[in-house]
């Protein structure tokens, strides 16, 4: 199996080329763009229904995932995340851990990859975006997306602060605390709500756009209940 990511950072797209029958990729439901005729799609609740339900409740992701399996050689599968933005791959060695904001998960290769949902802390009630984390443990390759471009920050001993809505993921070795930003007045007026203070050392991945702000913007354009159009 080979894969290629094109269209980044504007609109990342993953193209998987299956080279032998039986090769497979697991993807978040709804990620399929297109595929060759000899690919089978199987829908399942990964890790059993209970584990899936836990992920659904805690992580906000969908319960069901699709496994795409090649029935023949030379079959192409295209996958894309929902938001406008980048798509990246990350290879995890056996035992290596990465924390990913659960909504950023797109797909993975490798049956041994561990996916566990962790309670990330206070729900960001102001922007509506909580920090729910998937703990990914290698070996395997994971594909994740960002809303906007993906911006990597090397965090050192002096620490770093990021708006919760912009956090995509971070490597092992970083820990964080969530606090409201700018005190009480700041919480309600500054528009920033909650921020994450990162400490330790490692790489922090930020997305250059905040889904919560897009949701706030679109709210005004929703249809209104009980009125036509």
């Amino acid at each position: 199996m080979k894969y290629e990511i094109t269209g980044g950072p504007d609109y990342g797209l993953l193209k998987v080329r299956f080279e032998a029958p039986g090769e497979h990729v697991v993807a978040e439901s709804g990620a399929m763009v297109a595929m060759g005729p000899e690919i089978e799609i199987q829908t399942s609740a990964r890790g059993g229904l209970l584990a899936a339900a836990k992920r659904k409740v805690l992580g906000g992701e969908s319960i069901f995932q699709n496994t795409f399996t090649a029935r023949a050689a030379r079959q192409d599968l295209y996958l894309a995340p929902p938001p406008e933005g980048d798509l990246r791959s990350l290879d995890l060695a056996a035992g290596q851990t990465f924390f990913l904001q659960s909504g950023a998960y797109v797909a993975h290769i490798g049956d041994a990859l561990g996916l566990d949902t962790k309670w990330g802390g206070v729900r960001g009630f102001f922007s509506g975006v909580g920090l729910f984390l998937l703990k990914l443990t290698g070996p395997g390759t994971v594909f994740f997306s960002s809303y906007g471009a993906l911006h990597a920050v090397q965090v050192g001993p002096e620490g770093y602060t990021a708006d919760t809505g912009h956090v995509v993921g971070f490597t092992e070795g970083l820990n964080y605390g969530i606090r409201s930003f700018g005190g009480f007045k700041g919480l309600f007026l500054s528009g920033e709500g909650l921020v994450c203070d990162f400490n330790g050392s490692g790489t922090l991945y930020l997305q250059t756009r905040d889904p919560g702000l897009l949701a706030d913007f679109l709210h005004a354009y929703r249809p209104v209940k009980g009125s036509s159009g």
């Binding site: 094109t6 709804g30 763009v33 297109a34 005729p37 799609i41 894309a80």
Partner: protein, 232 residues
């Protein structure tokens, strides 16, 4: 007439320089700006030189879609005055613009939301790929474009061209346009379980030989992703 596609691929717009009397037709609401000398005229999109019957059908469809909350069925004709002029056009969503030259025997099916503009005698006829489409679902509303001229289509996200020779499956929400030489049918992706649970909605199966233009983002996908974050 000259045209340029600028600011692509992320946020492309189409800049058209019109000579005296030259006309470019565009989707309603697509105008970014124009020189004062360019005149704009609004028409019901019933195709090129429609008869009474097609005007009537277009009117009914326009009414239905307006009520059901779909796109409008109006187009604007921009005409260069004696001194010519310039008009700039852009789609509503982010993404690119692709130009296709149409001629005899070279028709193109375009997803309704991907139509941006055309020149010449290009005729657009509505085609429905499945019943759900009429009711604002995820199905496929297509414009069959034929005639002579330049056709400009827009993508949500990037454009990916796939040369189909045999069989190929594309999620209906990711279709921009495809050659009229291809056969297609709309259905579900897997078995009954996948139809309800996979989240993949409807797909279009292409067979034959021709080019499919896909877009790397899907409006339904965006809607599904952002909905849980909406306030109240």
């Amino acid at each position: 007439m000259e045209y340029r596609i600028e600011h692509g691929p992320a946020f492309a717009w189409l800049r058209v320089t019109l000579g005296p009397g030259e006309v470019v037709r565009a989707e309603a609401g697509a105008m970014v700006m124009r020189s004062p000398a360019v005149e704009m005229e609004t028409r019901l999109n019933a195709g090129y030189r429609p008869g009474i019957f097609r005007l009537f059908v277009a009117f009914i469809v326009a009414l239905l879609r307006k009520v059901l909350g779909g796109e409008t069925m109006f187009v604007n004709d921009f005409r260069g005055a004696a001194a010519g002029g310039e008009v700039v056009l852009a789609p509503a969503l982010s993404g690119g613009i692709v130009q296709k030259k149409l001629g005899p025997g070279r028709s193109l099916f375009v997803q309704r939301g991907s139509y941006l503009a055309n020149t010449g005698s290009i005729d657009t006829r509505l085609r429905f790929g499945g019943l759900r489409t009429l009711f604002g679902g995820e199905g496929l509303v297509l414009l069959e474009c034929s005639g002579e001229g330049d056709l400009f289509v827009n993508s949500y996200g990037g454009v990916v061209e796939v040369e189909v020779d045999g069989s190929f499956t594309v999620d209906t929400g990711h279709i921009v346009a495809f050659d009229g030489t291809l056969d297609f049918n709309v259905g579900s992706v897997g078995g009954l379980k996948s139809f309800f649970l996979s989240g993949e909605g409807l797909v279009c199966r292409f067979t034959g030989r021709g080019t499919v233009y896909m877009q790397s983002r899907n409006l339904s996908g965006l809607v599904g992703w952002i909905s849980p974050l909406l306030p109240g």
